[in-house]
Symmetry: C2
Subunit: 191 residues, 2 copies
DNA sequence: CCCATGCGAACGAACGTTCGTTTGTGTTAT
DNA sequence: ATAACACAAACGAACGTTCGTTCGCATGGG
């Protein structure tokens, strides 16, 4: 198969790129076609609707974070270890799938009510992982007793999600160093 | 004046509301007219273009933060005091002008190149205030010597800007308590 | 009387989407 | 080996709608 025709996955990937850059409503099907070197109408050989593309990209983003959390929660040892794994996992997801994550974070609200509700539920369940680990850390004494797991989770996720806004791959900081800096900063607020 | 006709400021305020909720490209001039109880075409008695509305809302947002920083930097005493003033001021701006801030943070990238460049410059100058205060704190020994003013500013602004995403006015936490919680959290990462 | 305000029709362009057709490629039958 | 077929991918025109914007006209308060 020497020929390089486009597959559905190519279309979804291009949609992630453009939705991240210009937003869902700022991207037309003809824009998307141009990105792939074909006409807007040709996209309908791969996809039922523009909305479907948004659903697919956003749900991909939700799944990435979901799986990262599931894996981090199995890390043995102290709650501090697991919190570090959550942070590192989050950084990995953001840096490895910047376009998908941008779309997930910024364009999910453009979804219809049903899909948006599902995404919000997934987001809440992800935040719950942070809350649990922080509660564990309070329980075993590694975090201060007056820490509020709910508010702390929000603060930590604020720092992590903002990565998408300022991180540029050309940055001098490599992935591990960045994750470590963030982990150090947020853990300072808990200990 | 029994009659309640609309002024230019009303149109800009409504634009801030809708741009915040649905995004710039997700808001039509007819949507905006409906919000004010008139036809989309009638808006052109107050405004030259839709783009002008975005410019005005976003520049309002930039100005609010600019002024908050200018005032916070004049606070006498320790760098810690001034950092606290920066945090409190930021929280105040976000909570008092949630729609304008949302539009400022999320829709500025929809501006044309010239205006966007000006907004980015304003944002950089605002971040610079945080960097300076942190550098002062390192200088006078109130912050750890290994703190990186640049990275720390990014982290702090991440927490502050994320407020717009999760804060709901019905929350149990009042404004001062919220600012204090945030200040405590971010200062822990510096001391 | 003026002038700001709003109406309502209209403009051309762009939108998401549909449709019949063409193109190229891999598979099957001869 | 070649001819016939099947099928996915892309084209290009066209659809009805919505977009931002313009324009001429009505109206009512200072």
């Amino acid at each position: 198969m020497v020929t390089a025709r486009n597959t559905r996955a190519d279309v979804v990937a291009a949609a992630g790129r453009l939705f991240a850059k210009r937003g869902y409503h700022g991207t037309s099907m003809r824009d998307l076609g141009r990105e792939l070197g074909l006409l807007g109408s040709s996209l309908y050989a791969h996809v039922d609707s523009k909305q479907d593309l948004l659903v697919e990209v956003v749900e991909d983003g939700a799944r990435l974070f979901q799986e990262s959390a599931r894996s981090a929660l199995t890390v043995p040892g102290s709650a501090l270890h697991r919190l570090g794994a959550l942070v590192t996992g989050h950084v990995d997801v953001v840096l490895s799938h910047q376009d998908v994550v941008r779309t997930y974070l910024n364009e999910a609200r453009m979804l219809d009510d049903d899909h948006r509700a599902r995404v919000i539920a997934a987001r809440d369940s992800y935040e719950q992982a942070f809350r649990e680990v922080i509660a564990q850390g309070i329980g075993d004494g590694s975090f201060r007793a007056d820490v509020d797991p709910k508010m702390s989770s929000i603060f930590i996720l604020s720092v992590l999600n903002a990565l998408e806004r300022w991180y540029r791959p050309a940055g001098e900081l490599d992935r591990d160093a960045l994750a470590e800096r963030i982990a150090k900063f947020v853990e300072a607020g808990l200990t």
